[in-house]
Each structure stands twice: as C-alpha cells, then as structure tokens.
Symmetry: C2
Subunit: 304 residues, 2 copies
C-alpha cells in the first residue's frame, strides 16, 4: 500500500500560557507526514511560497520517509501562515491571524509517480479541492477526509459531496456537532454514516477518540500526559491522523479490527506532538518509541 | 465484606429538553443504594422528614438488597429537595432550587448492626459529617469520599481533613480542578494523592472516568448511549459510585486490578440510570443485565 496526503504547509506562530514559538513549521500536511513517517513512507502533495523558510524545508527533510516530490514552491506566492494563542487549560485556543497565501491559488498537482497511491488522506483544505484531489487516485483502497468549521460554514454542499465519496470521516467533536446539529457523538456519527462513509472517527482531544464503523464501535482515551508535559497542542489532530493512516499502511489491513488498533497508534503518535513546539516532538520518533506508548495505552485501557 | 453508604435522600424535580419529572426519588444515597443493590447487599444511613412521600419509600423498598435499618424519618422535619434543569446537550445543568431541610439538622445515627461495615462510601454531604461518620467504622477496609463544589468553597479545611483520612477520592472533573486549581486530571490527582489517599477517581461524565492509583493508572470511557437514550443524567455519578463499590464488595478484592474493573462496573451501572427519570432506570437491574453491558464495554475498549 502507499499512503498519500494533501493539505497545508504553514508558518505557525504559537503562544501558550508557558511559552511561545515564532514562525515554526506547521500546517495539517506537515504534521500528518512527520507523524506518519515514524511508521513508514508517506507521500506529500502541497504548496508553499517563495517566503518558505529554508529551515522549514530542512525540518521536513529530517523525516527521511516523507517523499517531498509533490511539494511545490511557487515564486511570487506567499506561504500559508497562522497565529494562535492557547488558553490556560490548553484545550481551547483563539486564532490571532490567518494569511491564506498560496491556499487561495490553484491546488498543487499530483506527480505522476504518486498516481498509484492506495491510501488517501485529505487533510483540511477547501472541499472542492479535496474532491478533485480524491478523483485523481483511481487505485485508492481507502480514503479519509478531515475538515474545519470554516468549510462547514461556507462550503457545506461541497463538503457533503466529499463525505459522500470517501470511506472515512475524521473530524473533531465540535465539527461533527456543527455538521449534524447533534451533540451526542454516536448519534451524530450515525447520521454521517447515512451519507455514505463506512466509518466516522470523532476526535475529542484530551478525551480521546471514538470510531463508529458499520461493523462496530471502538473508543480510545487520550494518552495520559501530565500538565507539565503539554507544551503545544498544535498539530495533535493531524498527527493522530498520520499515526492512524500509517498503521493501516504498515499492516495492509483495512478491516474494523485494524481500524480499532489504528486509533491507538494515532493516539500515541499525537501524544509526542504536544510535548514540543512545531514538529520537534515528532523528530526522531520511531516504531520502538511508539510501541512503548502503545503498550502502555493497552495497559491502562485493559478491562475484564 | 459489607458495604455502607451515607448521604442524601431527596425529592427531585427535573426538567430536560425532552421531558420533566416532579417530586421523584433522588439524592446521592438513594441512587448509590439502588445502583449497588444490583450486585449485592448495601446498608443505608440517611434521614428524611415527615413529608417524605410514601411512594418514595416503596420505590426504595423495591430494591430488596438495600438495608433500610439506618433510614431515619423525623417528624417535624422536611426532606431535602432539589430542582434542576438540563441544557440542550444534557451535560450541563442549572439548579432551580435547593431546600436543605433535614440536612441542616444533626446527622443520622448508625445502627449498632451496621458498626461492622468494612466498605464505607461517604456520598456528598458536609465534610464534618462525613468525618464523624467515617470514624464510627473501626473495621473499615476501604473508605471512599465524594463531595461537591459547595463544600470546596465553604468547608475546604474540613474537606481536606476527610481526604487525609480516606483510601479513595471519587470526584468529578470540575471538583478536582476546583480543589487543586489544576485542570489536567492526572496532575490534579497526583496532588490529591499527596494528601494521603491511595487512589483518586475522576468522573468525566460523557467522557468516562480515570483512576489514578499509587499502583497505576486506568481509563474507562463512558458506555456509548445514543442521544435518544439519555432521558435524565441525574444520579449517574452516584450510580457510578454504587456500581464501583458494589463490585469491590462482591469480589472482596481491593487491589488495583480489581479497582480497574470496578470502574467498568460503575460505568455500565450509570448507563442504566440515565435512561429513565429518578430510580426507574435501575429498577429490575441485575447481574446478567450488568454483565451484558460490561462485556460490551470490554469489547469496545479492547486494544492491541
């Protein structure tokens, strides 16, 4: 199997109650790739401007299993930039600024060498772009979409069209509620299943994640991290997605039981991301380190 | 082992977005007893006034394993009464009225026949009352305390004194945060452990529960209930406590592994409570019905 992602590469500026980081590598696809690469190879399709810092390229290149052949650097364009501030408890944040830059231009192209990708992850971007991206992979065996409140607000029909075309939906709890108008994640997921997908994953941040699949339900709590361990939650959701999809790629098993365990691998992958600013928490991450935390997660959730 | 609880018996009036119930049986000790009795015998110590409805006595007596020898009905006194309204998502509520009544009088006495109780649960009441109750059980092997925001506000030193004297603390997440000033449940629980107890259970409502024990950590999600299944969340926390303690009584095992499974039994017990108003969801509950849901909980949390 071969895993591909499209989404954003960004320049992030983050403030938390205990620290801050200026112009660090960010964006949904960056986090996804860095996270997935701890388990196996991953292909990236995305665009940046000519202001993209050289050390951001170096930071991404430090993850050797990320194939950057689909990374377009456009002269005359600006890289997507985002600034945010986390509140006291680290589970709420406010956006300070967003500069869309290259995201307002034509979407990046898919290199011919990537056309045989079988696992497709549509990280957050305009649903029309996600749809056109999806259609370029005739050999896809599993496709999963993420989104954000903005698109639910301004492009709901296009988002519905993507949801009808994918196998899985991976949203956070507030997005699921916004999309369906239902606060209960099980009832809301059921409504999304009726739109076409085989499964819905509801990310609940510090409260873990829920998988509602046509073949069953699975629930995984967040990996227990003490307060002093949480440096920056940015990218935790994208890292969860990266760890989740990479596990499917690594095992080649797309059944419910495999998806259930993939939730756990996504969970432990995300726990590394929030221990540092930017991609630093994922640097040097490998299968033995992930396995240690996965085994600990199995241990704390054991029942019966 | 023999399980005993002291706490409130109340007359509840509840409004939810989908229905309402007037003057139904409520109170922490009522829910605890009814919930615990699905697994085994439980002793109740509590007081009501002469306005206590006859059908409330009948409702409690319908749980044959509840020993009501410690139930004091006082003439000239009023029963504790509470009215509350749940908001749209059923996980927030506002109190409409509280009439303390008999709770402002001397605490109920412990019958001589209950003096040999070994498992002691201090359901929510004034911490000074909890402390004096606790000291009456010289043969106690495990004691657990619950509380509420009111006592953390107005009786913090007395509450600290109880916490220093018990084996376990079972609070909801907002109470843990209020007590310690720490939003992260693992860090907050660690601080409470330093006050003396061997374990802290953080109840997170729809997000499940966390056990932080000197010997390890365990996490259990809430039992998955679709929105239409939630009729009235009142008493879910007390039912969780009842199911938790009753499992310990039933197995006689007070070690970490047993506490871990007790979390699961508390969880599934609470899931029945919120399906009906008052104690109705617990009526007719027995070990086979609990076991069915416990096995389902094991199934959905299975990992690795």
């Amino acid at each position: 199997m071969s895993l591909i992602v499209t989404g954003t590469l960004g320049i992030d500026t983050v403030e938390t109650p205990t620290g801050s980081a200026e112009r660090v590598p960010g964006g949904s696809a960056s986090y996804f790739c860095a996270a997935a690469s701890a388990q196996g190879p991953v292909r990236l399709v995305g665009a940046v401007g000519d202001d993209w810092p050289e050390d951001h390229r170096a930071a991404l290149s430090a993850f050797p299993q990320v194939d950057l052949a689909g990374l377009e650097q456009r002269s005359g364009s600006r890289t997507f930039a985002w600034g945010g501030r986390y509140l006291e408890n680290m589970n709420e944040r406010e956006t300070l600024f967003t500069e869309l830059g290259v995201l307002e231009e034509a979407p990046p192209s898919v290199p011919a060498a990537f056309a045989d990708s079988t696992l497709v992850f549509l990280a957050n971007s305009h649903p029309a772009v996600q749809k056109s991206f999806l259609e370029q992979f005739a050999q896809r065996q599993l496709s999963v979409v993420d989104s954000m409140d903005l698109w639910i607000n301004i492009a709901k029909p296009e988002l519905h069209s993507v949801i009808e075309s994918v196998d899985g939906v991976l949203f956070n709890d507030s997005e699921v509620q916004q999309l369906t108008g239902i606060g209960n994640p099980y009832s809301a997921a059921q409504e999304i299943l009726e739109m076409g997908p085989s499964f819905v994953i509801v990310k609940k941040g510090e409260h873990g994640a829920v998988l509602v699949h046509r073949d069953g339900i699975a629930v995984v709590p967040a990996y227990p991290v003490p307060l002093e361990g949480v440096v920056d939650p940015t990218g935790a959701g994208d890292s969860f997605a990266g760890g989740f999809m990479a596990y499917l790629e690594r095992t080649g098993d797309l059944g419910f039981e495999s998806l259930r365990n993939a939730l756990g691998w996504g969970t432990v992958t995300a726990s590394f991301t929030l221990e540092q600013f930017g991609l630093d928490g994922l640097r040097g991450l490998d299968l033995p380190k992930l396995t240690d935390r996965f085994n600990r997660l199995v241990e704390i959730t054991r029942l019966g």
